[in-house]
Amino acid sequence: MTITGSVVYVTLEGGFFGIRGDDGMNYLPDPELPAEFRKEGTRIRAEAEYSEGMSVFMWGTMIRISKINKN
């Protein structure tokens, strides 16, 4: 699937970067976003698939990103 959205920094659980999709959904990258995208407000476009992972963050849908670009 293709996700477009903005990178957000969520302060819960010690803090982490997630993606707030333009579709209104929250996405938690698994593994975490590459360093160059870890900046709040960065617009991204990603190819991803659902991940069945678990995390301490328990926020959004976990996704495994195969390709990501700044949008």
Binding site: T11, L12, E13, G14, G15, F16, N26, D30, P31, E32, A35, E36, E52, G53, M54, S55, V56, F57, M58, W59, G60, T61, M62
Partner: protein, 508 residues
């Protein structure tokens, strides 16, 4: 306020300086020669003494100077009155200074943070964190580091490349004052070797420094100095609990298993109650925070308090279910649950999960196995402001699902609700103070924080009554819990004192 020599020397120095000014006034009135230069030197020395040796915000310092010189003028007005030389000038000015100091101190109290000197708010540690590419070596940037006379060390020496390729390639660079920003900029330009570089600021999760070695508030029975920062510990309630527990001999020490990112077993506030287990280190810090909430040593004169009075009731064990970035798979979580169950855990704390309306089979099986061995499994409801029915492992049968409430007793805005689950409960989960991996204390928010508070309470109950079943434990939590406005969504909020009293009354 801590006593410092400046508190005595300050007024003394100011009084001496003002005395010499007053003495000049007397000499002048009597037509004698006055000594301006020594008096001015003394006055400005007194002023400089205050500027350099007082501490606090800008307004703090100004108000202390005004206060000391105001008091000095009032004292020295007595000398002027004796010589009948305009004592009202010193008296009046002194009163104005003291009054102004009081106003400024009040302003400083209200706005102290924004008035701090820049040097005090600078949180740069003169350190830079740099992440190299997977195949790059630190000596490939040695030329840049030499320009800054920098030294370096591995930031996470305990992490191997196979465990985490990013962390194992991260280095902590130390530089001289003020050079960190320039170094970061130069490193970021080296795109061939450097993936990422940033200053190592003390931001995000600030360590909370102890106000004193022991809690001297007089409000709390326990002497843990950070207890005053644990808002969820209501003095009357927690004092009553600690009064009960100090004379109580538990039937056993309950084992609370923190299935998470591991536990920093060397932390000063958990080392005394930590028992040998696979997850005795914690790079991430989440598991350590949870461990402190379940069983931090209490009344030990250090850090925070929990229900674990003098470490008599709970042993904490750590299990690595998640990696150093706080992530894992259903399998790694299931394996850690099984391992904890086979280590005779009484309570398994799962401050983790993922969106999953239909729980993964491996996890269902692992939890069923743990329950068959008598473990009480407690899981976080999740942080997506959704429904914990769609979140696993909180939606697995027999699991106590914990939502988070804020200091007002309302559902935390991020917390999932527990509607439709068989064992819903809620606990404080906003701005919760607990242990920081590597030492110190830090606040975090999340249903992860609410969960180990419940696990600690249930562990305590198991220590008092080892035969307590998961069903009995939940019944006591629910019957003794406080109904709140959102209880129809999240469940009742735990009431630790009422739960322990109900347990002791009922014998279960």
């Amino acid at each position: 306020m801590e006593f410092r020599l400046i508190h005595v020397l300050g007024p003394v120095v100011a009084t001496v300086a003002m005395y010499f000014i007053g003495r000049n006034m007397v000499q002048k009135e009597k037509g004698r020669e006055i000594r301006v230069a020594p008096t001015l030197i003394l006055f400005f020395s007194a002023l400089a003494f205050h500027i350099f040796f007082t501490e606090g915000t800008f307004l703090d310092r100004v108000s202390i100077i005004l206060l000391d010189f105001g008091i000095a003028m009032i004292i020295d007005s007595g000398y002027l009155a004796y010589h009948k030389v305009h004592p009202k000038v010193f008296w009046g000015l002194g009163m104005i200074l003291v009054f102004t100091a009081a106003i400024m101190y009040l302003l400083s109290y209200l706005f102290g943070i924004i008035w701090r000197f820049d040097s005090e708010v600078s949180n740069s540690r003169n350190e830079v964190l740099v992440e190299l590419g997977t195949d790059d070596r630190i000596d490939e940037i040695s030329g840049i580091l030499a320009n800054y006379d920098a030294t370096w060390e591995a930031a996470y020496p305990m992490v191997t490349a196979s465990e985490d390729s990013d962390l194992s390639q991260t280095f902590l660079i130390s530089v001289k004052d003020g050079k960190a920003t320039d170094l970061v900029n130069e490193l970021l330009n080296d795109k061939e070797n450097v993936d990422f570089a940033e200053e190592n600021f003390d931001i995000g999760i600030e360590p909370i420094e102890s106000e004193s070695e022991t809690n001297s508030s007089g409000i709390f029975f326990a002497n843990d100095p950070q207890i005053t920062g644990q808002w969820w510990m209501v003095p009357e309630e927690i004092n009553a609990i600690h009064e009960i527990l100090k004379d109580l001999r538990p039937a056993k020490k309950a084992k609370v298993a923190i299935v998470d990112t591991g536990v920093d077993s060397k932390h000063e506030d958990i080392s005394g109650v930590f028992r040998i287990s696979p997850g005795s280190t914690d790079v991430h810090g989440h598991g350590t925070h949870c461990a402190g909430l379940s069983g931090a040593s209490t009344n030990n004169g250090k850090g925070i308090a929990s229900l674990n009075w003098e470490g008599k009731f709970i042993e904490v064990k750590g299990y690595h279910a998640l990696d150093t970035k706080g992530r894992g798979t259903t399998e790694t979580v299931a394996e850690a649950i099984i391992r904890a169950a086979e280590d005779d855990a009484d309570v398994i704390n799962l401050s983790l999960g993922g969106m999953s309306p239909f729980p993964p089979r491996s996890q269902v099986k692992a939890i069923e196995y743990a329950q068959s061995l008598g473990c009480i499994v407690i899981a976080a409801a999740g942080n997506n402001n959704g429904n914990a029915r769609n979140h696993s492992p909180s939606n697995i049968e027999g699991v106590i699902s914990v939502a988070a409430v804020n200091p007002s007793g309302r559902k935390a805005e991020f917390s999932n609700i527990n509607t439709g689950l068989a064992r819903p409960i809620a606990a404080p989960g906003v701005d919760i103070l607990s242990l920081k991996t590597g030492g110190g204390y830090v606040r975090m928010s999340g249903t992860s924080m609410a969960t180990p508070i419940v696990s600690g309470l249930v562990g305590m109950m198991r220590a008092i009554n080892p035969d307590l079943s998961a069903g009995d434990a939940y019944r006591i939590l629910n019957e003794s819990g406080k109904p709140v406005e959102d209880s129809d969504k999240v469940g009742k909020v735990i009431n630790c004192l009422a739960a322990i009293e109900l347990l002791m009354e009922s014998g279960k």
